[in-house]
Symmetry: C2
Subunit: 131 residues, 2 copies
Amino acid sequence: MKELSIGALAAATDTKVVTIRYYEKIGLLPAPPRSAGNYRLYRQSHLDRLRFIRRCRALGFTLEEVRELLELSAETERDCGKVDQLVSAHLVDVQRKIADLEKLAAELRRIHASCRGGTVGECRIIEALSP
Amino acid sequence: MKELSIGALAAATDTKVVTIRYYEKIGLLPAPPRSAGNYRLYRQSHLDRLRFIRRCRALGFTLEEVRELLELSAETERDCGKVDQLVSAHLVDVQRKIADLEKLAAELRRIHASCRGGTVGECRIIEALSP
DNA sequence: CTTGACCCTATAGTCGATAGAGGGTGCAGC
DNA sequence: GCTGCACCCTCTATCGACTATAGGGTCAAG
């Protein structure tokens, strides 16, 4: 494998073609050289970088955080404190989201349990939604 | 209380003024009568309806689901099965989201634990993000 | 009569893509 | 050579649920 078309890169990273072009437009993925017919030609470095991006996205980092992580990962001499701090902050965020959703789920279960059938007029669900 | 200004309604429902106007624009909240000076004047019914909307939003329903719930809540003679089904489906959704986030959190904890300090070059975090 | 808090409309921006229009490229088979 | 098809190109618009900004008008207190 020497060069990849955008479609091949998309297939290799489980990303949509339009998404790759989008990443290029916002400067997350460098614009690759083009073929005679103006097709994008990607190399291993693009593949690596895109995999990194997708992995970070799958972990819930925002594109801005990914951008930061990419920059940090390039400065190999730098202290890794900043990287760890980004990961930790994101973990806290995810844990807060889980806690919030668990409260929601509990409430929804309570509301669901209040249903005894019958008409909407008799049903307690609508009531439960109008406190 | 006979009539509420948009600001008063916002304060009473912990909603932003712009959000109320937005709900009106998308047809979720009926356009209220206006004062001589073209100010919106809200009544109890608007307050009730907006509270319902906000409560549903706080429970994570989309605005389209809220729209549906509002319609259903008006048909008091209807069987409440549809309402219960909406709530249950949403609960399943929330539970799935929790499960997803828990996987993320576990992964992030694993990645975080792999950090032993030092430079970015030595740090395992970046590695862990480039599988 | 001025100040300041509130209200009005209209438009554009956020995030992370996704969709569609309207066209060009490259290759296989006939 | 020619046709068909999959793939590629750019550009613009759309999604959800708001948020922000510009450029005004209204109203009550001092």
